[in-house]
Symmetry: C2
Subunit: 222 residues, 2 copies
């Protein structure tokens, strides 16, 4: 007796199996889902709060909120009246596709236009775990310095979009520490198609470009 | 035949075995070794460059420099003429005690007063891996927001010292986003003995308090 072995059939990890489930669910429901990744304190939550509030008349947005501990960020999202599911990872440094799967089951997906996943604040580990999202958005604050694409290339190589946040601090940080053109060039060396939007979630500067990008992506069905 | 089993004998992980080796080596040589941990872009390298330069007449400092990719930080340290060993983790999100062990073997330890380990930029994972150091120093930039001790408690609970860096940006960031007294109170709730120094590696403000702390620790033989 011989068993037939299929050569080339990729065996999926447990995480990738759930990522595939999530991808299929999102495709069936035709929903855009974006995975926001950054260092702690780059402003992911502030960007989401601003985006949800300013697009409230146009888009229904839901959020899956990942944190190691506390629900401080989920509370900030909840204050906008957007539906939010909190995942407390209790020490784990990234969200898993299984966690996102369970959160998706608890969100009113059919009523939403757009779902954001706010990953754990970590520029390294979350980039290695597919969640089934349609795209990753990396956020970099100008206070973090302009060497980050070179030093943490994985997430810049994998993201659809780079939001350069806190440009209201640019003058105080100074061009020696943050040369915005260098960041753009270094990110594009890793990823020629990456879209880059310098923004300030605090002052609102540049946010319209980001909103238009979101609206275009939703319209294009991705 | 029965085997005698020693109850209570802790079985060390491979990492902890190397951490123990490092701790013994540092104790034999009576050297202070500090493990610097923070988010990407909080200013660990800038703090080291400033500290090495300003204490050049008093202390001989060596550095073990951890990065996921590139030797950009090691180059900045090398420019101060301090001995530096670069560890490129190639994707790994933290330094291991084995990597530090090999770096220690390549540093002229007997000629040094103080060894800094600059961990990978990551506020989460490095806190879980003992390297055999005498203490951890956590760095938080004021641009990262004042909710970090609550959201990432492990590293604040485990550190001897908290450096609140980039206080030159405090005015631009604003007290709404960074209340320095709240950070101090939250960190002390997790760790009543933590020493806290607000500093700016850029302007030099507050650095003297940090230098005096280092000198006291070296004098006390820890």
């Amino acid at each position: 007796m011989y068993k037939k072995v299929e050569i080339g059939k990729k065996i999926l990890s447990a995480n990738d199996q759930y990522a595939l489930k999530n991808r299929q669910l999102l495709a069936e429901q035709k929903k855009l889902c974006l995975n926001m990744i950054s260092s702690p304190g780059s402003g992911k939550t502030a960007i989401l709060v601003k985006t949800i509030s300013e697009l409230a008349d146009k888009l229904k947005i839901g959020v899956i909120e990942g944190d190691i501990q506390t629900d401080l960020d989920a509370e900030r999202i909840r204050a906008t009246n957007a539906p939010v599911i909190q995942i407390e990872t209790r020490g784990s440094c990234h969200l898993s596709a299984a966690q996102v799967n369970s959160a998706l089951e608890n969100l009113p997906i059919s009523k939403l236009d757009l779902i954001f996943i706010e990953n754990v604040g970590n520029l390294v580990c979350p980039s290695a775990f597919e969640l089934g999202e349609n795209g990753k958005v990396v956020v970099l604050s100008v206070a973090e310095g302009d060497d980050k694409p070179a030093k943490y290339p994985a997430i810049f190589a994998k993201s659809k979009t780079l939001l350069i946040n806190k440009i209201d601090l640019l003058e105080a940080v100074g061009q020696v520490d943050f040369d915005i053109e260098k960041v753009k060039a270094d990110a594009r060396k890793l990823n020629k198609d990456i879209e880059i939007f310098p923004i300030s979630a605090k002052t609102g500067e540049g946010m319209t470009n980001w909103y238009h990008w979101l609206e275009r992506k939703i319209k294009a069905g991705q």
